[in-house]
Structure formats: structure tokens, C-alpha cells
Symmetry: C2
Subunit: 254 residues, 2 copies
């Protein structure tokens, strides 16, 4: 297997495990996001940027949103896949990164995603300009304007909804002491129910993180009821804590 | 790195990911169980026993219990570890398997576990004798008596308890259409709370699965209140659905 690795691009082989897959035998959305963020961690490591070095800046990378497209064909647990990522472009405040998951010969592309990263000051919890030492090693082009991701449509006030409540659990938190980004997808999708989730698969999605969910909070995940007669099946999602909207997403389904 | 692989024993290298670790930066118990069961899946695959072949028997392997011991020193995400497993012994109904996780030079042993497996008929949902084709390839010795695992002490009727309720979610189910074995550990530990789980780490544990939790059920996880003054800190756990006890466990903590 040939893996592409230079300053801007990083690919790694990954054995898709049983526990990264849901009942369908294919990776769940939260595990897909977890796997690709592993690829970008490995990318950083390969360029000498380890956790200690990042922490010394007093800040951390935070994803503000994703958009992506998935193949109808998805890999099955036990399969070797290639996870790839590329630092596409950046300006003072934003960095765009592309991700992909393919089969082990680069023949079938299972997923392609784009993410916008910002750099957050850990003391003020506010965005700050990206430190040069944190971006230069990727050799991504500096640009004036960063193309925006598709903004998910909002849930309409009159829409038929399904909603469920979730309590943040200890094992939802990651080593960054926050609810792991990827976990939001379990909350977003679970209210759709087992029958729908066994029979449908995401085709396209966009997601925007507006406000982080904190430990101990109860979240409400609200989803527009899928309309089974439409030929293009789309669901709109929001995650709220009290009156705060934390995350919005829109998903088109196969 | 030298990996031991023969019929009875299988070792594999594994890059410990961020999402296999909890807030402490070390693997959570549920992820430890997930990782070692990946090792036994790979062991079976390496001997030609894939999912299709196992399914043809009309049955499946089921873990009835675990016991284990963990080092105070645990690996951190980003570290390469060795996951190992050995088919220790079997009789007509039970198979014993040992598991370990070490650093990438076999110098530090992070964890050593033992599990008892039974073979369940998928139609009757009852235990059946292990098909020869499912056990012979491991070349594990056939024995008369299988040593029992340590049985977890039961929660006393008078004990001070903490308890929390959990609803089974879609992403708790695995490709076997059941709540994944490893997930029980998230329910077992979560009621202990963030402060306790950040400051303590499992040293020894034993766990027994009595009755499986099914999709859509609500589980109650009950835990004896840790006594912070004792020099040997032990918690006793049970998971119940209605009046049924599904799982019991006992954990000694560092």
C-alpha cells in the first residue's frame, strides 16, 4: 500500500475495528469523525507538533464545523482502510483541512470531508490568531479569504420534531476535558431511532458547532421528522442546553 | 517489535487513539475490553475463522465473565501498544482466554485479563456445546475442569448506594445486534462521578454477565459508595433492568 506523506498531506493505514462500527457493521458517524481526527493528530506528530508543544502556546485547535459526502458503499469492520488529511489553506484565524477515507488501494473513496479549524486560547476560551509555529510546518497556502462551509438549514418553528434528552457522561469527555467533538453525532442521530438508522445512511452532511456542551449538562437533541415519501430525504438537527443552541446540522440520507 | 503468533497465541500492534482514552488520557475500561476483543477477533481471522464461517454454525461466542489486574502505570494516547491473547484451555462448554496489553517492547505490562467464553445458539439464545471446528484451530488443551473466575461480591441490601439510569442508545448496539459487552463498563463506572474517576484507577476487577440487556431497555446502574478512608478501596456494582440483575462487578481501585 502506498501512503502519501509530505508536509501538507498525511495518510495512514487503519484496521477498522468492530467497536468503530454500529449495528450495520459500518463505521458510525461519530467514529468516522474520531478516525479522521486521529489522522490529523498523526499528521501533526509527524511534523514534530506533539501535545506538549501545542499546550505551550496556551491554546488548542478547535473544529468549528464540518461538511462531507459519503459513498453509499461503506467499509466493514476488519477491513484495512486509508485515512488521509491535507492542510488546504489558512488565513490569520481559520485553517481549512480536508479528510478522506478510502479502501486500501485508493480505489473506492468512502468519505470526503472538509473542516474549519480555529485556535482557542485556553485561558480566555476565546478564539485567537493562529500562532505561526502551529501552522507553518504544514506548508498550507496562506490565503485572504477562506471559503465558508455550507451552513446547515435551521429547524423551522413549525416542523414536526422528534426529541430526546441526554445527560453528559464521564466517558463523553476526552483528555482535553471537554465533550469530544465526535460524540455530538451520537446525540444528533439517536433520536431518529433504530429502524430509520438501520435502513438509511448519511449521503451528505454539514454541521456547525456554536457553543460547547459542558460536563454535567443535559442536552436536548431535536430532529425534524424524516418524510418517507420524499425522494430526497433530509433531516435538520439541533442540540440545545437550556435555551442555548449548541450545534446545528443537516443531513441528506441514502 | 517482535510479535508472538502461533495457533494458541496472537499478538498485534495497536496505536492507542485519542478516542480510546478518557479524560485521564489513558484507555477507559470499556475501550480496554474493546481492544482486547479486537485482538481475539484478529486471532480467529489469522486462523481462517471469519464471521461468515462462525455464522454458519448458527451460533456465536459470548463472554460470560472477566477478571483482570491493571498496572498503576497506563499507556497514553498516541502510544503504540501490544495487544495479546492466548487460548488457554477449554472443555465441552467453556473456553478460557487470556489477554494482555503491554508497551511496544513487552517491558511494561499494563493489563492482564482472563475471560470465560461460551458458545450461544443464535436461534434458541441458549448455550450449546462448542463446535469442534470453532475450537480445534486454536490448539488449546482440552481439560476436564475449567478454573472458575473470581465471583464478584454482591451489593449488600444495607449498603449506601449511588445509582443512575441509562437508556440503551442505538450506538450502544454492535453488528451482532446486541449491546456491546464493553459498553456495560461505561454504565458501571459513570455513577461514581467525575471527581472519583479522575483520581482513581482500577487495580483489579471481576465481572459477570448474567442476562443480556436488550435494545430499548432502561438500565439502572447501582454502585456501593466508595469509602475514602479505607486503605483498600473496593466498589461493588450491579446493572439491573426492572427486577432482573443483568451484570455484577467488583472493582478494587488504586
Amino acid at each position: 500500500m502506498e501512503l502519501k506523506q509530505d508536509a501538507q498531506t498525511y495518510e495512514m493505514q487503519h484496521l477498522l475495528t468492530y467497536y468503530e462500527c454500529d449495528e450495520t457493521g459500518h463505521p458510525s458517524m461519530s467514529m468516522l469523525l474520531s478516525m479522521i481526527s486521529m489522522a490529523s493528530d498523526e499528521h501533526s506528530l509527524s511534523l514534530g507538533m506533539d501535545t506538549a508543544l501545542i499546550q505551550k502556546t496556551g491554546g488548542t485547535w478547535v473544529v468549528s464545523g464540518y461538511e462531507g459526502r459519503l459513498n453509499r458503499k461503506q467499509p466493514t469492520f476488519g477491513e484495512n482502510v486509508i485515512l488521509g488529511t491535507r492542510a488546504v489553506a489558512h488565513n490569520r484565524f481559520f485553517a481549512v483541512r480536508e479528510f478522506w477515507m478510502t479502501d486500501d488501494t485508493h480505489t473506492v473513496e468512502y468519505a470526503r470531508l472538509k473542516a474549519i479549524f480555529v485556535f482557542m486560547n485556553l485561558a480566555t476560551r476565546r478564539m485567537e490568531s493562529i500562532p505561526e509555529a502551529m501552522i507553518d510546518p504544514y506548508e498550507s497556502p496562506a490565503v485572504k479569504r477562506i471559503p465558508r462551509l455550507k451552513r446547515p438549514a435551521k429547524l423551522g418553528a413549525e416542523e414536526l420534531l422528534t426529541q430526546k434528552e441526554y445527560r453528559v457522561r464521564f466517558f463523553d469527555l476526552d483528555a482535553n476535558h471537554h465533550v469530544n467533538n465526535a460524540r455530538y453525532f451520537d446525540w444528533l442521530l439517536d433520536p431518529l431511532g433504530r429502524t430509520f438508522l438501520r435502513e438509511h445512511r448519511p449521503k451528505q452532511f454539514s454541521l456547525q458547532y456554536l457553543q460547547e456542551v459542558r460536563n454535567g449538562q443535559m442536552v436536548v437533541s431535536r430532529v425534524s421528522k424524516p418524510q418517507p415519501t420524499a425522494d430526497q430525504q433530509v433531516t435538520r438537527h439541533e442540540i440545545k442546553t437550556a435555551d442555548q443552541v449548541n450545534t446545528i446540522a443537516e443531513i441528506e440520507w441514502y
